[in-house]
């Protein structure tokens, strides 16, 4: 009986070889998507290759001296990127130091059960929408609204602590401090949203166990929740650092663009990216090569930070799944 049924079905549905056209479409499609995926590698390598190639003239001419000299004189053809490198590192790290407590604190506030969930969601969405505002608009806001507003406060700091080298010049408008503050605004959403995601992934069992043995809310947060989510938070912080180092427009508009090195955070300064934005359009000859050298340094810095971020997320990533 069973055999007969089988026979009937095989008779009805005969085996069909795939037509060659179908096979060719399959193989062709695979080759196309492989080629498209390879585009990422091609673009990445050519960015490095092109920037390196364009900067070889400056690299062979100045070598590492370029990193420690703050000369930038197209007339005498002397270039050095110390001010820009210092500005890049100082602004990004200072903004990170301000943004970490704010961002992680906000992330904790909107993942803990403190206020109703609907309000927490609204705060979360608002912080994420902040990331959608283009940096040039933040720059415009910083130039016309934020900087005039904070200048009196900076002046008070200058008058009280002017003897400290970091506060030793009078704030007169564009400078490093407003740039740091606008960078805080830009990297806050990154730190907040990534910290929020990793805090949310911590299993509720851990929290319940901590509460069960009598830990208070904040003991639980500091001793259990944050350590469990530390990989994601660190990854987010490092991504934010990379973003802060490469951020161009808002910083260019508010940092004052001066290549004179100054310890004071109220004085105009430079970052690598603002130097590129400012000078690339009109540069020629060995200045282009020097700018490319600076771009190469910026790329290597952000690359190191990003690779380290990916590595640390893998290394410390959650064991609770």
């Amino acid at each position: 009986m069973l055999l007969r049924v089988n026979k009937a079905t095989t008779a009805k549905f005969s085996l069909r070889k795939r037509p060659t056209s179908e096979k060719m479409v399959d193989v062709g499609f695979k080759n196309i998507v492989v080629a498209m995926a390879s585009m990422v590698a091609v673009v990445l390598f050519s960015i490095f290759a092109v920037v390196y190639y364009e900067s070889t003239e400056s690299i062979s001419r100045y070598g590492l001296r370029f990193l420690f000299s703050s000369a930038w004189n197209p007339v005498t053809d002397e270039y050095g990127a110390f001010t820009a490198i210092y500005g890049t590192l100082f602004t990004s790290i200072a903004s990170l130091l301000i943004a970490i407590p704010l961002g992680v604190g906000t992330a904790i506030f909107i993942t803990e059960n403190i206020i109703p969930e609907s309000i927490r969601n609204v705060i979360g969405i608002m912080v994420e929408l902040l990331a959608a505002i283009p940096s040039v608009v933040l720059g415009l806001w910083a130039v016309f609204i934020m900087e005039p507003f904070i200048r009196p406060f900076l002046n008070i700091i200058y008058e009280l602590f002017g003897f400290i080298p970091f506060f030793s010049t009078q704030p007169l408008g564009a400078g490093m401090m407003p740039a740091i503050l606008i960078l805080v605004v830009m990297i806050l959403p990154i730190i907040t949203s990534i910290s929020k995601d990793s805090l949310k992934q911590v299993p509720s069992k851990l929290r319940q166990a901590a509460y069960g043995i009598g830990a208070s809310r904040w003991t639980t947060i500091f001793k259990v929740i944050i350590p469990a989510a530390i990989s994601g938070i660190t990854g987010g912080v490092l991504l934010a650092l990379g973003r802060a180092m490469g951020e161009t427009m808002a910083v260019t508009m508010i940092i004052g663009n001066s290549n004179n090195f100054n310890w004071s955070i109220f004085a105009p300064s430079y970052t690598i990216s603002s130097m590129l934005a400012n000078q690339f359009g009109e540069a020629d000859g060995s200045q282009v090569s020097s700018l490319m050298y600076a771009a190469l340094i910026l790329m290597i810095l952000t690359l190191l930070v990003n690779v380290f971020a990916q590595w640390i997320v893998k290394k410390l990533s959650l064991k609770y799944q």
Partner: protein
């Protein structure tokens, strides 16, 4: 020694641990308020200040050269068109390549060495500062005049924006396709579909809404970018009149804001605020649209 008295079991706000807890809660609430404050301030300034300069003339006219006319700076019409054109050029390049790359990662090589390398590479590419994309395009397209002898051009600007969109699109396509259950793939193979048919008729449609979320977010980011355009597309005050004009300098909203914000003239500054209004409204709507699409996705992360 009365530890079991009823009093020790009731909440006592003056205990040091409760004071510490409550003050930390208040501090975290303060941090949340400080974090939200910039968004509210920026948005309200842009909407109120920028919105007040919006009228038909600002939307249509061409911008005047700074200092020419102290009362009126013209309009932002060409910049709106320019931003639109360059975003379209960037999409034409990056959407097919990004979706194709994502298909390869998710459907053909889930954990192969090459796929791992490409995933790593697209993360690295996503972290590269946007101005570097501009420098790169300047070096290979603008300074070599490789595109029919044109130097600064709208098409160069579009290409540099596509570099910024690519990693986001690859990543979201990859993740969206991974969320499609394997049962659907097996069912498609079971009824005799080829892999090409399976991908185009089953998994891509199933992941469509998640992919479009990523594409919209990438678009929104590209439309607001300035740094890669400053020395690839440069700026132009004129409307494009023919197709050939994409091979010449092209204005954009973001570069207009950058250029005119730093002018010493009031009229130009007002134009920069008006342009910010348009840009912010468009980008926020794109973001909210993408959030709405992600809520109707068939297979989502939850």
């Amino acid at each position: 020694m009365n530890y079991t008295s009823k009093k020790s079991l009731t909440y006592n706000p003056s205990l040091s641990r409760n004071i510490g807890n409550n003050s930390l809660t208040i501090i975290s609430a303060l941090f949340a308020i400080i974090s939200v404050l910039p968004l509210i301030l920026v948005i309200s300034y842009v909407l109120i200040k920028g919105g007040s300069y919006i009228n038909l003339d600002t939307l249509i006219l061409e911008p005047e050269p700074p200092g020419d006319d102290l009362l009126s700076a013209g309009g932002i019409g060409p910049a709106i068109i320019g931003t639109f054109i360059m975003t379209v050029i960037a999409s034409i390049i990056s959407i097919p390549v990004g979706v194709g790359g994502g298909i390869y990662l998710a459907e053909y090589s889930k954990s192969g060495k090459f796929a791992k390398f490409i995933r790593f590479g697209s993360n690295v590419l996503a972290g590269i500062p946007s101005i570097i994309a501009g420098v790169f395009i300047y070096a290979i397209i603008v300074s070599t005049k490789i595109l029919f002898g044109s130097m600064f051009s709208g098409i160069a600007g579009g290409i540099s924006l596509s570099i910024l969109m690519l990693p986001t699109i690859i990543k979201t396509t990859d993740e969206a396709l991974k969320l499609v259950p394997n049962d659907m793939r097996r069912a498609a193979f079971g009824v005799g579909a080829s892999k090409f048919t399976m991908i185009t008729n089953i998994t891509l449609p199933a992941a469509f809404s998640s992919i479009s979320t990523g594409v919209l977010l990438a678009l929104a980011r590209a439309a607001g970018e300035t740094a890669p355009l400053v020395f690839t597309a440069l700026f132009s005050r004129y409307y494009i009149t023919s197709f050939d004009d994409i091979f010449y300098e092209m204005g954009s909203l973001s570069v207009l804001i950058y250029n005119f914000a730093l002018e010493p003239y009031e009229a130009q500054n007002q134009l920069a605020w008006a342009a910010s209004f348009i840009l912010v409204v468009v980008l926020l709507s794109l973001n909210i649209l993408s959030r709405w699409i992600s809520t109707i996705a068939v297979f989502s992360k939850k």
